[in-house]
């Protein structure tokens, strides 16, 4: 099975979750209040009080086919708004 790590702005979290539902992901977990830096922009906890918010880290354990579907649905969001998505191997314990 696969492990998918998505890091996007909290503001785009709803769209990403919609994509996960559409791709029939068996489940997902979300960690909010994530800060960080990308090649161009940085997100600090300092702006957490504003509507700007911080990032969210979404973890999905799923089969390859879900990853394939997600690629189509999520990549446009990442391209437009920023954020990263990485896939790795993982196995149920």
């Amino acid at each position: 099975m696969k492990r998918l790590d998505l890091i996007v702005s909290e503001r785009e979290l709803d769209s990403v979750i919609k994509a996960l539902d559409k791709a029939n992901a068996p489940g997902y977990s979300v960690i909010k209040h994530v800060t960080g830096r990308g090649p161009d922009t940085s997100v600090s906890e300092g702006m957490d009080f504003s509507g700007l918010g911080a990032n969210a880290h979404v973890i999905v354990f799923c089969e390859q086919d879900v990853v394939d579907k997600l690629r189509e649905l999520v990549n446009p969001i990442l391209d437009y708004y920023g954020g990263v998505a990485y896939v790795a191997e993982a196995h149920p314990m």
Binding site: S9, R11, H33, D40, T41, S42, S44, E45, G46, M47, D48, F49, S50, G51, L52, G53, A54, Y80, Y81, G82
Partner: protein, 331 residues
């Protein structure tokens, strides 16, 4: 006289706590107010200011200077971004210009609140209906910003998606801070006539506690604003000048409009502060979503890193000096 006003403002607790936060960053103290505590204070301040303004508006009614003042405020929130955009386009691209312009057309609730407490420390009266002007200046500037992007940049946008006007209007009118402010205003307004007991019982929370909570929040704003100063250096001289001169220009224009409206000195100062302040809560959130091409560190560092401290520390007493010149106090 201005210097003495500046000093009087400088030595009040809110401004001193702002400095305490800013200095913490410069001396690299590890003082921090972890998320989401600042959000608690920002939600609280919006709720309280909206509620108090609504109650006073309820007692005052919609007659007198209310409609003209609010209308003038909305007009300013439409005109200021156009002027700003024209100036900013001298050096910046369409996206960044529009986003910064929207921020300056909109308002900063904390600057407004600090001005209110400055007026109170000077025992100068002002009216609760000014909060209605505050609440109604947030959205129009956002919409103007997005219209500017759309008019000037139709070809420049990478994909054909264009603008989703539903989403834009939604973001402009219903983002959390605008919604909470207007909602609390309405609740205060309704409560003023229908629930006098409830209004009275809110008082310790929305009124008594307010000043201290403002100080606590300004401590955090000092930290956050100082963290933005580095970004400002990167943004360059043009934006640094813009962040100081634009509020001054908008403030002076606001002062003359206030005089034209026949506002008293307290209301006039608040009107000027609405014109001169820039948004670093609602507008950045809206711009981040609708103009992702713009660099957030530009519109946040100008509005929050420079214009906000400038207004809090020097601007408010300066504008008061202008008011004192323009509008003779009724004694």
């Amino acid at each position: 006289m201005d210097t003495s006003l500046i000093l009087q403002n400088l030595l009040t607790p809110p401004v001193l706590f702002f400095f305490l936060g800013a200095i913490a960053v410069f001396v690299r103290s590890d003082l921090e107010i972890p998320a989401p505590l600042p959000k608690l204070f920002s939600l609280y301040l919006l709720l309280a200011i909206g509620f108090k303004g609504g109650v006073e508006l309820g007692h005052y009614g919609l007659g007198g200077q209310v409609i003209p003042t609010v209308t003038a405020a909305i007009v300013m929130s439409l005109v200021v971004p156009l002027v700003c955009f024209a100036v900013l386009r001298l050096k910046l691209d369409v996206f960044n210009s529009a986003a910064i312009a929207a921020a300056y057309g909109s308002i900063s609730a904390v600057t407004f609140i600090t001005a209110e407490s400055f007026l109170e420390s000077q025992s100068i009266a002002y009216d609760g209906f000014m909060v209605a002007a505050l609440a109604l200046m947030e959205s129009p500037a956002i919409i103007i910003g997005l219209i500017l992007v759309n008019l000037s940049a139709r070809q420049k946008r990478p994909d054909a998606k264009g603008m989703n006007w539903g989403a834009v209007l939604h973001e402009a009118m219903l983002n959390g801070s605008v919604y909470l402010l207007i909602g609390s205003l309405l609740i205060g307004f309704i409560g003023a006539s229908h629930s006098p007991a409830g209004i009275e019982k809110m008082d310790p929370f929305t009124n008594k506690l307010f000043y201290g909570a403002l100080c606590f929040f300004l401590l955090d704003m000092g930290i956050v604003a100082a963290q933005r100063v580095k970004d400002l250096q990167k943004a360059g001289w043009f934006l640094i000048f813009f962040s100081v001169l634009m509020p001054l220009l908008n403030g002076v224009v606001g002062g003359f409009i206030a005089k034209g409206l026949g506002l008293g000195p307290g209301n006039a100062l608040l009107f000027i502060v609405l014109c001169a302040s820039a948004s670093y809560i609602a507008v950045p959130a809206a711009m981040r979503m609708t103009v992702p091409e713009a660099n957030p560190s530009y519109y946040i560092s100008t509005a929050l890193g420079l214009t906000f401290p400038f207004n809090i520390i020097i601007g408010i007493p300066l504008y008061m000096g202008l008011v004192n010149k323009l509008i003779p106090a009724v004694s």
